[in-house]
Symmetry: C2
Subunit: 107 residues, 2 copies
């Protein structure tokens, strides 16, 4: 093991660690059932889901992810969700940088 | 801003921060050119690329990502790469947990 890891490597570890923290709670230890997914979303992504204790945002995410109807979210599906959220966050962040446009773009 | 952020939220921030640290260096500030991508991979993912200072692994990643031939990697393409790497890491990690199989699996 190296002494230090980069931010990117930390990010990967955090994604893996967080998934297994919840997936291991009940049933199949390597997938999230609806209860585990809900707990993960509310506890770990409260900021992005607006801390809504009502279930609207959570249900929407569950329905999107559960398109294959197996009632379980595996690690790859979880990573697709996190990737989509991260891209959305990045877009949101860039919208505030209006005075800092790409070089090729005229104002 | 909340006082504390979760590991998942930290991971998202690290992904965004790291991309822009390199994408902002030259040319289009919101995409990685080949030089910027190479620097990011070598400096931030050295552990996973085996710290190979030869260019083999880097060139492979570049060629995969540059399928659209625009010579630039945007944030979404970067996130797809990171997602694939994280899934690969997770699979690797699980291979070592042979005494800890999912319930449905007979030994």
């Amino acid at each position: 093991m190296p002494d230090t890891i980069s931010d990117l490597e930390s990010a990967m570890q955090m994604l893996i660690k967080t998934f297994h923290k919840y997936s291991g709670k009940e049933g199949d230890k390597y997938t999230l059932n609806r209860g585990e997914l809900k707990e993960l979303l509310l506890e770990e992504l409260g900021t992005y889901l607006g801390n809504s204790k009502d279930n609207e945002a959570v249900e929407k995410v569950m329905n999107d992810l559960d398109a294959n109807n197996d009632g379980e979210v595996d690690f790859t599906e979880f990573i697709i969700l996190m990737g989509a959220l991260t891209v959305a966050c990045n877009d949101f962040f860039l919208e505030f940088k209006t005075d800092d446009k790409p070089k090729g773009q005229s104002s």
